[in-house]
């Protein structure tokens, strides 16, 4: 089997596709390049072709050097976050046909250091996530004796299940206007997760978490622009959680 045939078989887009789009990919290697450069590629697409499919098509057939991070291709792993036509989105969850544009520009997410091309370093987001103690805090556990279950009603589950959908893709931090200027801000991802555990009736660490986020670079830097919630691909709505947390700190919520 020739190399060309193998590549055609692996193509995610049908060869017979009549529609093409210009995929403009931002290329930048911080170790070698002086600045970001955009390279255009003509890519065939169908109604169902995602931006990730198109980027991988380019990578397979036109430019093997394009760096992109991806894994599940179904909006579950949170790996393929990037700026698509100026807005942070998951590449696997964004169809080219939905963008209604002849040119699709893909860039790395803002507010994260660029590793290469479309890949960014998410370390700070994970560090901030860990800071808010993203686990149940209480003395006993479900596995220590006497063995028992922590009961929870469907209503109690509804209080936080929305926030448990977070896949840590980082789109919210990329869209946040405070993150754009404040490198020490916890960010909507971490604050949203702080609320996820504060709202969980099994958790007893509310005061501990409120103390962590009650900081000059913590919750008070949020100005309720709501962009985090608008770009969330899982419907988490971090802006809502942040306002509820602030309600606790201001004494409006118990």
């Amino acid at each position: 089997m020739s190399e060309t045939t193998f590549a055609e078989e692996q193509s995610s887009t049908e060869v017979s596709s009549s529609k093409t789009v210009t995929l403009r990919i931002a290329k930048f290697n911080p170790d070698h390049d002086s600045g970001q450069q955009f390279v255009d590629f003509k890519v065939p697409y169908e109604r169902w072709t995602t931006v990730l499919d198109a980027v991988l098509d380019v990578k397979k057939h036109l430019d093997h050097s394009v760096a992109v991070r991806y894994s599940c291709r179904q909006a579950s792993c949170g790996s393929c976050g990037m700026k698509i036509n100026g807005r942070p989105r998951l590449a696997c969850f964004t169809k080219i046909s939905e963008l209604n544009s002849d040119v699709v520009t893909v860039e790395p997410m803002n507010n994260y250091p660029i590793i290469r091309d479309l890949v960014v370093k998410l370390d700070q987001m994970f560090e901030n996530h860990k800071k808010v103690q993203p686990f149940l805090l209480r003395e006993d556990s479900e596995i220590t004796g006497p063995t028992k279950e922590f009961n929870q009603t469907p209503e109690q589950l509804e209080e936080y299940i929305q926030f448990a959908n977070c896949i840590k893709c980082g789109l919210c931090n990329s869209a946040c206007p405070t993150m754009a200027t404040d490198s020490s801000f916890l960010g909507p991802q971490a604050l949203g997760q702080a609320y996820r555990y504060v709202a969980d009736n099994r958790d007893k660490g509310k005061n501990s978490r409120l103390k962590i986020i009650d900081d000059s670079h913590g919750i008070w830097r949020c100005h309720f622009a709501g962009s985090c919630s608008q770009v969330c691909p899982k419907g988490v709505d971090p802006a809502m959680g942040i306002q509820f947390l602030r309600g606790y700190l201001l004494g409006f919520r118990k």
Binding site: E158, A180, H223, V231, F244
Partner: protein, 143 residues
């Protein structure tokens, strides 16, 4: 170029069109806040001139009695009214009021915190500010 944070900086804040009316309101809130702060400083300077005597005070007042001065004061009225009206919306939101209720999200995941009441309040704040500016113009330029 060394590896940097790739932060959007002020440029990102100054591009409010990508995220809808809420981001535009955030941007307007910042701009009007800074504008009002500048006005407050100027106002304190202006009124402090009264200690230099009547003629100095009247000279200072005459600055705002020009066409440019009237336009400037009209802008101050607009900034003040928008900042107040939108500020009430934002303060209530900060307390957790009117931001919806947590619920299992359904596709296409419309965020409850960005509900139609907030949008209506933003449009109303802009509308009231525009009306106040029109009233200000009619008073300042009317004979």
């Amino acid at each position: 170029m060394k590896r940097n944070d790739n932060r959007e900086g002020i440029k990102g804040m100054a591009n409010p069109g990508r995220y809808g009316i809420e981001r535009f309101a955030y941007w307007l809130m910042r701009i009007t806040g800074l504008g009002l702060l500048a006005y407050l400083i100027g106002h304190v300077y202006e009124t402090s001139n009264i200690i230099n005597g009547k003629s100095a005070w009247e000279n200072m007042l005459s600055i705002t009695q020009t066409t440019e001065g009237h336009v400037f004061l009209t802008l101050v009225i607009g900034m003040c009214v928008f900042h107040t009206a939108n500020g009430i919306r934002v303060m209530l939101g900060h307390g957790g009021y009117g931001v919806g209720k947590p619920a299992r999200p359904d596709y296409p995941y419309t965020p409850a915190s960005q509900n139609s009441m907030h949008k209506l309040c933003i449009y109303a704040s802009i509308g009231i500010a525009a009306l106040a500016m029109m009233y200000g113009l009619s008073v300042l330029f009317g004979e």
